[in-house]
C-alpha cells in the first residue's frame, strides 16, 4: 500500500495528505465546541450536555460514557446545522455575506500545510518531520495566511449591513492588526537563536523543533519556553487576541454587540465561523507548541529520539524504531500538547473577564508592543554574544 501511495503523482499525494489533515482538523474543531461546553460546565460545577443519545444505541454498554461526554449532542447539533433553514436577511449584501464564512475557513485550513505534527526516525536514525510541506518560509506562511482570516470578519461585519456586526468587524480589524505586530516580534528571537551563523537560514517550524531536540542536558534540548519565557508569554497573549478568545473577544462580545460580526448569521454559515475559529485555535496552539513547548518531544531535555532509543534498549524490541510506531507516538505527544493548550484557552475563558475595548488597545500598543521590541533587542544582543 505504501508503494502504491508513493507511486501516485506528487499532486495526488499532496491532495490526499491535505484531505487527511483536514478530515482530522474539521471534526476536532467541531469537537472543541463540545469540549468548550463541557469544560465551562465543569468549571461552573455542572455536568454540561449529557442527555442526548439515539434510542437504538441506548442499550449498548459503553454508549453511556459517550452520552455523558455529550458526543451524541455534538452529532445532533452538527446535523441540525446541516438541515435547518439558512436565513438570509433582506438587508445584507448577499454575495459577500455568503462569501465571508468560506473566507474564514480557507486561512484556517491553509496554515496547517506548513505546521509539522510529528516525526519519525529514518534508516539512518535521523529525525524526519511529518508535515504537508516542509518549506523554508514556515512561520512566515503561517503569519501571512492567518492574518487573512481577519478579512472574513471584516467582510462579514460589513456585508451584514447593520450596526452591531459592523462594529464587530471594525473592532476585529483594529484588534488583529494591533496584536499581529507583537506576535511577530515575539517569535523573532526564537528564529534568531535557531539560525546559527554559518548554517543555512530557515524559518521552518520543523527546524525549531529540531533545535529543541538536540541531545544534551543543559542547553541542548531546552524548550524555548524556559529560555524565552517573555517571548512565550507575549506570543500566548497575542494568540488569545488573534483568535478572538476571551478576554479579547471584542469582535463578538455578546454583552455590548449582540453577537458581533456574526449577529446576522445563522445555521450552517454561522457554524462555519465557529469551526474556523476553533481551527484557528488549533493551529495557533500547534504553532505555540512547536515554538516554545518542544513540539513532539515528550519531556523537557528528553527528545523523541532519546525516548525511542531508550524504549528500544529497555524492551529490546526493534518495533520502537519502526517509522510507523515512532510517527504515531510523536503525533500523539504533539496532539496531546495541543489539546492542553486548547484547554488553557477554555480555562482562561472562565477565569478572566472580557477587557474593555480601550484596555485591549492599551495592552496591545502600550504594553505588548514595547515589551516585545525590548525583548527582541535584548535577545539579539544576548544571542550575538552567545553564538558570535
Amino acid at each position: 500500500m505504501a508503494s502504491f501511495f508513493f507511486g501516485l503523482p506528487l499532486m495526488v499525494q499532496g491532495v490526499i495528505k491535505g484531505l487527511a489533515v483536514i478530515l482530522f482538523i474539521f471534526p476536532v474543531a467541531a469537537a472543541c465546541s463540545m469540549a468548550e461546553r463541557k469544560v465551562s460546565a465543569w468549571i461552573q460545577r455542572r455536568p454540561g450536555p449529557n442527555r442526548t443519545i439515539p434510542p437504538m444505541l441506548a442499550g449498548i454498554p459503553g454508549a453511556g460514557i459517550l452520552q455523558r461526554l455529550g458526543l451524541f449532542q455534538l452529532a445532533a447539533d452538527g446535523g441540525k446545522f446541516f438541515f435547518k433553514e439558512e436565513p438570509l436577511p433582506n438587508h445584507v449584501h448577499k454575495f459577500y455575506f455568503v462569501l465571508a464564512p468560506f473566507i474564514a475557513m480557507i486561512p484556517a485550513f491553509t496554515t496547517v500545510t506548513v505546521v509539522p505534527f510529528g516525526a519519525y526516525l529514518d534508516q539512518a536514525g535521523a529525525v524526519v518531520p511529518i508535515m504537508l510541506a516542509n518549506v523554508d518560509i514556515g512561520i512566515l506562511a503561517v503569519f501571512a495566511v492567518a492574518s487573512l482570516g481577519v478579512y472574513s470578519l471584516i467582510l462579514a461585519g460589513w456585508a451584514s449591513n447593520s450596526k452591531y456586526p459592523f462594529l464587530g468587524g471594525v473592532r476585529a480589524s483594529a484588534q488583529l492588526i494591533s496584536y499581529e505586530l507583537s506576535m511577530t516580534l515575539s517569535v523573532l528571537p526564537v528564529f534568531l537563536w535557531v539560525n546559527e551563523p554559518g548554517s543555512a537560514g530557515s524559518l521552518s517550524l520543523a527546524r525549531v523543533v529540531e533545535f529543541q531536540s538536540h541531545p544534551g542536558f543543559c542547553w541542548g534540548g531546552t524548550w524555548f519556553i524556559f529560555t524565552m519565557p517573555l517571548s512565550a508569554a507575549i506570543f500566548m497573549i497575542a494568540l488569545f487576541a488573534e483568535t478572538n478568545r476571551q478576554p479579547f473577544d471584542m469582535p463578538e462580545s455578546e454583552a455590548d454587540l449582540v453577537g458581533g460580526f456574526h449577529t446576522e448569521y445563522g445555521a450552517f454559515k454561522w457554524s462555519l465561523f465557529f469551526v474556523a475559529e476553533y481551527a484557528n485555535m488549533i493551529v495557533g496552539s500547534a504553532v505555540f507548541t512547536l515554538l516554545f513547548l518542544g513540539g513532539w518531544n515528550p519531556i523537557p531535555w528528553i527528545p523523541l529520539s532519546v525516548l525511542l532509543g531508550g524504549l528500544h534498549h529497555l524492551t529490546g524490541s526493534v518495533l520502537w524504531l519502526h517509522p510507523l510506531v515512532a510517527g504515531v507516538l510523536s503525533i500523539a505527544i504533539f496532539v496531546g500538547k495541543v489539546f492542553l493548550a486548547i484547554f488553557l484557552f477554555m480555562w482562561v475563558r472562565w477565569t478572566v473577564p472580557r477587557f474593555r475595548y480601550d484596555q485591549v488597545m492599551r495592552i496591545g500598543w502600550k504594553l505588548l508592543l514595547p515589551l516585545s521590541i525590548a525583548n527582541l533587542l535584548a535577545y539579539t544582543v544576548g544571542i550575538y554574544f552567545l553564538q558570535g
Binding site: R46, W350, T351
Partner: protein, 180 residues
C-alpha cells in the same frame, strides 16, 4: 463623625503586570473544575424539601380520616389573590362528624392565581389547609390548573395531628369527658 483617611496601597510590580493575578484566578477555577457538581439531574434526582416549605396548598384529613374543613371561608377571605373559592354545604348525616355544622360542598383553589403566601394555612382555625411539599404544578389548560376538592384531599392526605379537636368538642358536649 471622624473621617478616617484610608491609605490606598500602591500596586506592587507583580500586581501591575497582572499575570500573577491571572495565574491565581486560574488556580481558583481549576479548584472548581475538580469539585463535584453542584447541580441535580432534575427529573431523576429531586431536591430534599426542607420542613416548612410552602408548596401547593392542600386539604388534609384528621387521623381518623375525617374531613377537617368546616368551610368557615376564612381562607377564602384572607387569600390575597382570591385564588380560593368555597361553596359551603351541610354535613352529611352519619359520618361521625355531625357535631360540625358545615363542610365544603366544593373547594377550588386556582393554582394560576395562588401566590403560595401561606396565609390560608395561617388563618385556618381547624388546621385543615396546609402548604405541603409539592412544588411542581403543570397542566395543559386553565381548567386543569384549578385544584378541586377531591384533588386537594388526594394531594393533602392525612397529617399527624395531636389535637383531635372534634373529639374534644364532642366529649365536652356529651359530658363524657372521654376522647381518644
Amino acid at each position: 463623625m471622624a473621617v478616617i483617611q484610608v491609605k490606598r496601597k500602591a500596586l506592587t510590580l507583580a500586581e501591575r503586570t497582572y499575570l500573577p493575578q491571572i495565574v491565581g484566578g486560574l488556580m481558583t477555577t481549576l479548584k472548581y473544575f475538580f469539585k463535584p457538581n453542584e447541580t441535580l439531574q432534575y427529573p431523576e434526582e429531586r431536591p430534599a424539601i426542607p420542613p416548612g416549605y410552602r408548596g401547593v396548598p392542600t386539604l388534609v384529613m384528621d387521623p381518623h380520616g375525617r374531613e377537617k374543613c368546616v368551610s368557615c371561608q376564612l381562607c377564602e377571605f384572607v387569600c390575597p389573590p382570591k385564588a380560593i373559592r368555597i361553596t359551603p354545604g351541610s354535613v352529611a348525616e352519619g359520618k361521625g362528624i355531625d357535631h360540625v355544622e358545615k363542610a365544603p360542598q366544593a373547594f377550588d383553589i386556582d393554582m394560576l392565581r395562588c401566590i403560595y403566601c401561606g396565609l390560608c394555612e395561617e388563618v385556618c382555625p381547624e388546621e385543615a389547609i396546609f402548604l405541603q411539599k409539592q412544588y411542581s404544578m403543570s397542566g395543559y389548560s386553565r381548567s386543569e390548573m384549578v385544584n378541586h376538592k377531591d384533588r386537594l384531599y388526594e394531594l393533602g392526605g392525612t397529617l399527624p395531628d395531636k389535637h383531635f379537636k372534634w373529639d374534644k368538642k364532642k366529649a365536652a358536649e356529651d359530658g363524657s369527658g372521654a376522647h381518644p
